[in-house]
Symmetry: C2
C-alpha cells in the first residue's frame, strides 16, 4: 500500500498534481483532495491496519522513567510494524497525556507518536482521545516546600503562567501541515466543533492492472473516524456528529454496497451492554485475552449506535480508552444480516495506567469476497485472539 | 484619595516622571514604580477600602437572565460606591465565571467588573479567584439534538475549537495595560507562577501639609495581595509565596512598625478552625450576619498562616469565595498582642451561587493612632456588622 513512497519521484509529482486538482474543486473529507495518493487494496486483494491505542506520550518528563517509558512505547510500535507491515496505522486516541505535560505546545510529543509510522513510510490516521488536549494538571506537591522539579521541557517564551493544553485544531494542524503527505488525518467540519477528528477515508479497489475491469477508482472500503470527545469537553459523540455520519454515509454509500468500519476513542454505552462481566472469562461469541475492568463509556448516547446498527454495511467499531480490555463482542441491538462487532484495541503505550503486556490490534480486510479478520500482535511477537468480524 | 485624577495636568506629569524614575531603578512591587500616584491617607487621617467579592460576570450569556444579572451587579457596586466613596476598591477574586464563558478572551467581562471603580476615578486592585481563568465547561446538553444555543458573544476569528480560559497573565496584562493608571494591580514575580496576583501596595502617611513633620513619604499601611490559586491550578497559597511574603515583609517592614493587611480569595484552613458552626448564630467574638454554609478552604496550608500569625503587625486577612458567609472571627493560633482577624467579604455580584442579599465589606483604616474598623454596606443602603479589628 505504501510502495509509492519508495519511489519518491513519481509519487511527489502525483502529489503535486493532486494538490493542483484539489485547489480547483470543492473541499471534501477525502484524503485524495489533500494531495495524498489514495489508499488502495494491495495486489493480493488485502488491506491491513494496525491500531495503536493509548500511547500516552509525555508523562513525567521531570523523572527518568517518564522518558524511558516513551522510549519503550517507540519499541512496541517498531516491533508491531516489523511483524505486520501494515498498509495503514490508526492512532486511536490518547497519543499524549497532555494533563501531564508542562509545555505550551504538545505537538512535539504528538509528532513522536506518529513518527513510528512516518519513519517507515506507512500512512496513518489519528483520532482524538480524552487526554490529547487536556490542560496541564499542576501536581499539588509542586506547591509544597519541595517546589517545582527541574523540567526537561522548560516553558518557552510567551507560554504564560499556565499550560492549557494544545487545542485539538492546533494538534491536527501540526500533524497535517506542510510536507506531511503520509498523514491521512483531517479536521472535520467546523459545525462539529468542539469535536475535530471527524472524517472519512476510502480505500480504493485494487485497480486495473490486477483486475483489468476499469474499476480502479471505486472505493471498496469506507473508514469513518469520529471524535468521541473528552479532555477539553464532554466525552460524547454528539447529535450533530450523528447527523454528519448520516449525511456522509448516504452520500458516499447510498446503497450500502461498500463495507464500512468505524474508529473512535471512548467506548459507547453499547460496549457496556455487550461486555462480559469484568474479570470473568471471555466466552464466545466474544473473543479476547484481557477483561480486567469495567467498560468506561461515553457520558451519553445521542444516537450513533442506532445509526450504525441500522446500516448492515457497518461491520465493526474500534475503540481504545480501556487499557485493561482487548475483546471484541457482537452487538445484537438490531436485526441485521451480519453482526456489528464492537472491538477494543490493545493498550500499545507504556504511558497510561495498567501493566498488562503491550500490543496492538491488527485488522485485515480482504476485498473480494469482503472479509474482515482481526488479531492482537504483542510486543514480544506473539499473536492471539484471532476473530472473524464478517462471519 | 483619588483627587489627583481631577487635576490631570500635574498628575500626568508626576506619572511620567515616575515612569522615568522606575526605569532607572530595580523593579519593585510598589505601585509608585508603575507611574501611578502613591496611595495616601486622606486629610482626615483615614483610608477607606470597599471589597467587591465574587461578582461572577459573564454567566449564561446565551439567556436573558445572564446579562440581566450582570447589570444587577453593576447596580450593587454603584450603590456601594455612592454610599461609601472609598479611596480604593479591592476586587477580591471571581470577577468573572470563566467556565461559563464561551469566548476566546474574558478580558471584556473582567473590564466590565473593574469599570465600576474606573468610571468614578477610584483606584482599584484585583486578586484572582478560582473562576477567573477557568476553561469553558461545555454544557452536556449542547451535544444533544437541541444543539448549541445562539451565542451573544460569538467566537472571534482564530479562537480554535476550544475556549480554554484566559490565562491570569493575560487578564492582568489587559487590566494594567496602557492608560490604566487607576489599576494598582500587578503581576507578581515569575517564580511564583502559576500564581500571579502577588504584590504589595503601600499607603503613605497623610503628608507634610497636614502634619508638617516631613514624613510624607513614609508608608503608614502595607497591603499584601496574594493569589490563592484555583481555576487552572490547585487552590493553594504555595510555600514559594510564603517565602516571598517573608522576604517582602522583612524588606519593607523589618521592625513591624507599619500595620499590615492581607487580601486573597479562598479562605485558608484556619478559617475553618475559627468558624462558628454552619447555620448557627454568629456569637462574639465573631461578628457577621450570614453563616449559611461550611467554609470551603484551600486544599493545603503551606505555612502562610503561621507566617502571618507571627507578625503582630498583621491585623487582618480578607477573603471571598464563600458566598454564604460574611463574618469576621479572631484567629487565636499564636500569642499576640492583638488579635489577627479572619474576615469574609460579602457576596457582591448577582453571578455565582446563593440568593443572600448583595453587599460589600467596607474597611476603614485610621493612621494615628492606627485603627481598623469594618462593616458591611448593603445594596439597599443599610449598614450592619460593624467590627473593630484593632481592639
Amino acid at each position: 500500500m505504501h510502495k509509492w513512497w519508495r519511489s519518491p519521484g513519481p509519487a511527489l509529482l502525483a502529489a503535486a498534481l493532486a494538490i493542483v486538482v484539489a485547489a480547483l474543486r470543492p473541499a471534501t473529507e477525502h484524503a485524495a483532495a489533500k494531495g495524498r495518493p489514495p489508499l488502495r487494496f494491495g495486489p493480493g486483494g488485502a488491506f491491513k491496519v494496525a491500531l495503536f491505542a493509548d500511547l500516552h506520550y509525555g508523562e513525567d518528563a521531570w523523572t527518568d522513567w517518564g522518558p524511558a517509558q516513551d522510549a519503550a512505547s517507540d519499541r512496541v510500535m517498531a516491533a508491531v510494524l516489523d511483524a505486520e507491515n501494515p498498509d495503514l496505522v490508526v492512532y486511536l486516541g490518547d497519543l499524549v497525556t497532555a494533563n501531564n505535560l508542562p509545555v505550551p505546545n504538545a505537538s512535539l510529543y504528538w509528532d513522536r507518536a506518529v513518527s513510528a509510522a512516518r519513519g517507515r513510510g506507512v500512512p496513518w490516521a489519528t483520532v482524538f482521545g480524552n487526554h490529547d488536549d487536556m490542560a496541564f494538571e499542576w501536581p499539588p506537591e509542586w506547591f509544597s516546600p519541595d517546589g517545582v522539579p527541574p523540567l526537561r521541557w522548560p516553558p518557552g517564551p510567551g507560554s504564560g503562567c499556565g499550560f492549557r493544553g494544545t487545542p485539538r485544531t492546533d494538534l491536527m494542524a501540526a500533524e497535517t501541515g506542510a510536507n506531511r503527505l503520509l498523514s491521512y488525518s483531517s479536521s472535520g467540519p467546523r459545525e462539529l466543533w468542539p469535536g475535530v477528528s471527524n472524517y472519512v477515508l476510502q480505500v480504493l479497489s485494487r485497480g486495473r492492472r490486477a483486475r483489468g475491469d476499469g474499476h480502479d477508482h471505486d472505493p471498496a472500503l469506507l473508514m469513518y473516524f469520529l471524535d468521541s470527545g473528552g479532555g477539553s469537553y464532554t466525552e460524547v459523540v454528539s447529535s450533530a456528529q450523528v447527523r454528519w455520519f448520516h449525511t456522509q454515509s448516504q452520500f458516499l454509500n447510498p446503497d450500502g454496497r461498500i463495507p464500512e468500519l468505524i474508529f473512535w476513542h471512548i467506548p459507547s454505552t453499547a460496549y457496556a451492554k455487550v461486555a462480559p462481566k469484568a474479570k470473568s472469562e471471555i466466552r464466545k461469541p466474544c473473543v479476547g485475552s484481557i477483561n480486567e475492568e469495567e467498560v468506561a463509556p461515553q457520558a451519553a448516547e445521542w444516537g450513533m449506535m442506532d445509526a450504525l446498527a441500522k446500516r448492515s454495511s457497518v461491520k465493526a467499531v474500534f475503540v481504545g480508552h480501556n487499557h485493561g480490555l482487548d475483546w471484541c463482542c457482537p452487538y445484537d441491538g438490531e436485526e441485521r444480516e451480519q453482526e456489528l462487532w464492537l472491538c477494543f484495541a490493545r493498550h500499545t503505550g507504556y504511558g497510561g495506567y495498567g501493566d498488562w503486556p503491550r500490543g496492538a490490534r491488527i485488522l485485515e480486510v480482504t476485498e473480494e469476497p469482503f472479509s474482515a479478520v482481526s488479531w492482537i500482535r504483542m510486543e514480544n511477537g506473539t499473536r492471539h485472539s484471532d476473530v472473524t468480524l464478517t462471519s
